[in-house]
C-alpha cells in the first residue's frame, strides 16, 4: 500500500515538473523542472533501481538546489476566487481539511500505520474537495505546484537530513560522539553526571536532528551505567526525562527540518530560522527544568 502512495506522490511531483518545463515565463524552468522530476523519480523508482542511481540523483538534486537552481514561478493572486469560495462554501470548506485528520486517525487506530493512514486521508479529502469546489484535478495540480514552489528546496530537506542520519550511523558517528561524551564523566557526582546526560541528549539531538538517534547512545553511555548503575536512580525517570532533554535540542536545531525549517517555508517567513528563534526561549528554561527534575526525582 505504501508503495502505491509513493507512486502517487511521484505522479504529483512529475506533473509539477512537467508544467514547470512547459512554463515559458519561468526564470529557471530547466533546472527547477529537473529538480522536481528527480524528486518524482526517487519516489517512483526508489525501491526498484540500484541505490547508487538514487544516490547520484540525490547529489544532483542537492547541487541544483544548493546553487540556486530551484526558483518559484510567478503565481498570480486569485483573490476573487478565494473570496467567492469563502462566500459560497463558508465553513463547509473545512470538511475536506478535517477529513485528512479524521481518516488518518481512524486508520492509525485500527490499522496501526499513520503514514498509510495519512495517504488514504489525503485521497479521500482530495475527492471531497474536488466535488465540493467543482474544480478539475489539473487545477488541483496547479495549486499543488504553487505550494511546492513556495517551499522550494525546503521540501527536500527533511528527507536529506534523515538520509544523513543513516549515513552517520553507517560511518560510526554515534560511537564517536558517545566516546567523547563519556570519556570524562565523574561517575560519583550526581550533578555532573546529570548535566552530562541531559546536556549530551540535547547536544547530540541538535546535531543529529533526532532524539531517537541520541537516546540509545546517551542512555547506554551515561544514563544507565552511571545514573542507574552507580547512583541507583530510577531507570524510568532517566529514560523519560532524558528523552525530553533531547527534545529541547530538537526545538533549536535546523537539523530537525520538518519541524523547524519547513514550517518557515510553509508560512512564508523571510527568516529561515524564525521558528527556532520562537522556540529558543522555551527550550532553555525547559532544559533547566529537566535537569532539576532529574536531580529531584532520581532518588525519590
Amino acid at each position: 500500500m505504501i508503495e502505491l502512495l509513493y507512486v502517487l506522490a511521484g505522479i504529483v511531483l512529475a506533473v509539477v515538473a512537467l508544467t514547470t518545463f512547459a512554463d515559458a515565463t519561468h526564470p529557471r524552468r530547466i533546472w527547477t523542472g529537473s529538480f522536481w522530476m528527480l524528486f518524482a523519480l526517487t519516489f517512483v523508482l526508489g525501491g526498484r533501481v540500484p541505490p547508487q542511481f538514487v544516490g547520484a540523483g540525490v547529489v544532483a538534486m542537492a547541487a541544483i538546489a544548493g546553487f540556486g537552481g530551484v526558483r518559484s514561478a510567478a503565481h498570480g493572486d486569485n483573490e476573487a476566487t478565494r473570496r467567492a469560495g469563502a462566500a459560497r462554501l463558508g465553513p463547509r470548506i473545512f470538511v475536506p481539511a478535517l477529513a485528512i485528520s479524521v481518516v488518518t486517525l481512524l486508520y492509525t487506530v485500527f490499522m496501526h500505520d499513520a503514514f498509510v493512514g495519512l495517504g488514504i486521508g489525503c485521497i479521500v479529502a482530495w475527492a471531497i474537495a474536488l466535488v465540493m469546489t467543482r474544480d478539475t484535478p489539473m487545477q488541483s495540480m496547479r495549486e499543488a505546484r504553487r505550494l511546492l514552489d513556495a517551499l522550494g528546496w525546503a521540501a527536500l530537506l527533511p528527507q536529506m537530513l534523515a538520509m544523513l542520519g543513516l549515513v552517520f550511523a553507517a560511518a560510526g558517528v554515534g560511537k564517536a560522539v558517545a566516546a567523547v561524551a563519556t570519556a570524562y564523566v565523574d561517575v560519583h557526582s550526581p550533578l555532573i553526571a546529570v548535566l552530562v546526560f541531559a546536556g549530551g541528549m540535547a547536544l547530540f539531538t541538535a546535531i543529529m536532528g533526532n532524539a531517537f538517534a541520541a537516546f540509545p547512545i546517551m542512555a547506554g553511555g551515561v544514563g544507565l551505567p552511571v545514573l542507574v548503575g552507580v547512583q541507583h536512580g530510577d531507570p524510568a525517570v532517566v529514560a523519560a526525562i532524558g528523552m525530553f532533554s533531547g527534545y529541547c535540542g530538537t526545538l533549536v536545531t535546523p537539523m530537525a527540518a520538518n519541524f523547524n525549517v519547513v514550517p518557515s517555508a510553509l508560512l512564508e517567513l523571510d527568516d529561515t530560522y524564525a521558528v527556532i528563534k520562537a522556540q529558543l526561549g522555551t527550550a532553555i528554561p525547559l532544559w533547566v527544568c529537566n535537569v532539576i527534575l532529574l536531580l529531584v526525582l532520581l532518588h525519590r
Binding site: 478565494r82 473545512f94 552517520f168 560511518a171 542512555a219 524564525a274
Partner: protein, 226 residues
Amino acid sequence: MIHGVSLLPLIGIGVLIGGFLLRLNPMLVVLAGTLATGIAAHFDAGHLLAAIGSGFVETRNLSLVLVLPLAVVALLERHGLREAAQRIIAAIPGASVARLLVTYLGVREVTAALGLSALFGQAVTVRPWFAPMAQAAAERDRAPSEEEKQRLRAQCAAADNVGLFFGEDIFVAFGAVALMHEVLKSLGYDIAPMRIALWAIPTALCAFVIHAVRVIRFARRLQGRA
C-alpha cells in the same frame, strides 16, 4: 582515538555546524556533511552513493506526508479556506491571540498525550487554518506590521511543535516510549512502558506552563500593552 573508537567521522559534524553558522545554503551544507562523513569513514564513491541512495529511499515517508497533504490544502486555499478560518475568528467574541495560541497548545498537547498526534500538523492544520485564525485575532486590535505577522506565524508553528513534542511521550503506545522500553531492556532493565510514560508528565506540565507564559507575553507585546 578514544578507547579504540575512531573520532574521524566527527569531521562531518564539524562541516554541518560550520556550514549552518556561516548560513550557507542548508542543502549544500547537508550534502557536504554527508560527503565528508563518508570520506572520513573510508567509503569509496560507489559505496557512498549507495549509502546516500538507500538512506533516501528508506526515508521517503517523510516527504510523502508533506507532498500529499499539500495537494489537497492547496486546492482548498484556492477556494477560500484561509478566509473561512479568518471569518470564524471574527465571529467569535472575545477571541484573542493569547487565548487562541494557548488553547491550541493545550489541545495539541493533550490530544498528542492521548495518541491523537495525527489530528494536527504544520501542513495539515498550521498553514491552512491555525495561522490565518491567529492573524485574524491579531487584526482585531490593530493592523500588525508585516514583521509582526511573520513573528506571529512563527509562534503558531512553535505552539504546534511544543504541544506535539511534550505531549506524545505520555502516550504509552507511541514510538518513543516503545524505543525507550526496548533500549532499557537491551541494557538489562525491564521497565513497564506505563512507568516511562508516567514520568514524562512532570516535564509535559513544565513545557505547557513555560510556553503558555511566553505566548501570553508575546501576545501582550503584539497588542502594544507590554
